[in-house]
């Protein structure tokens, strides 16, 4: 499934502009611990987290992830969105909690 389809089905709010949304989603990883994400996420995964600080972009970039979904209506600062745009990492937000986003994605992807 493409990231754009996930965005549409979950009505996600896309924060980044000029970042492609047509990449294939290989799976999902849910964690707020950055070392855990680095160790266990896979290339092309969507990352679900409540973290909003700058380092999430570097971690997602390192693992070449498809994008980051920030939950619970938490909003990243402008600086983080700009960094994500320059690293070509899509950032999306939602008012849903992590459990619900993960549950919906689990159904969509399995």
């Amino acid at each position: 499934m493409k990231l754009s389809e996930v965005i549409e089905k979950l009505s996600l709010d896309v924060k980044t502009v000029n970042v492609g949304l047509e990449q294939d989603v290989t799976g999902v990883y849910v964690s707020d611990l950055l070392s855990d994400v680095m160790a266990n996420s896979k290339e092309g995964n969507i990352w679900i987290t409540l973290q909003t600080h700058l380092n999430i972009v570097a971690v997602a970039g390192l693992k070449t992830m498809a994008g980051i979904i920030i939950v619970n209506n938490r909003q990243p600062e402008k600086e983080i969105i700009e960094k994500a745009e320059s690293e070509k990492i899509a950032i999306m937000t939602t008012s849903l909690p992590a459990f619900e986003v993960a549950g919906k994605l689990y159904q969509m992807l399995s």
Binding site: D32, L33, S35, H53, A58, V59, K63
Partner: protein, 145 residues
């Protein structure tokens, strides 16, 4: 897959403690160098994770540090030397989940006690030396097939 060069490639990055805005820059640059050399994806991934974790340890705990790398056709060698508080019990520090990070660092999702174990897991050789009050040295090597 052989490298695009038979030369030894060396370089280093300076890291400043407390500067979270630069986290991941050294590993991203090393990732690009390895990619340009034609190193296999899984090896690049291991080297990048080990380097990122090494960067984080300097940023979280030390005043400053130097991360240097040496790439030969046989091996990627990464050495981190920091001016930090040192580690009292290195055996304890290697245990997954053990951490001395302050709460605000944990709230960022770092300091979960996974850094040193992640570095070791992704290396073929791993050596940790530390002197309390002076600093810590981590040496890692990843073999190239």
């Amino acid at each position: 897959m052989p490298l695009n060069t038979d030369k030894t490639i060396e370089g280093s990055f300076q890291l400043i403690g407390g500067d979270f805005s630069i986290a991941g820059e050294s590993s991203a640059q090393l990732k690009k160098i390895l990619s340009d050399l034609g190193v296999a994806e899984d090896i690049i991934r291991r080297a990048s994770i080990a380097t990122f974790e090494a960067e984080m340890n300097v940023i979280i705990y030390a005043a400053a540090g130097t991360l240097s790398y040496t790439i030969t056709p046989q091996q990627i060698r990464i050495v981190l030397v920091d001016m930090g508080p040192g580690i009292k019990d290195t055996e304890q520090a290697m245990k997954e989940g053990f951490s001395t990070a302050p709460d605000w660092v944990r709230e960022m999702g770092w300091g979960a006690g996974m850094g040193l174990p992640n570095m070791k897991k992704n290396s073929d050789e791993f050596k940790l030396d530390s002197v309390v009050g002076e600093g810590t040295t981590v040496e890692m090597a990843i073999n190239l097939p």
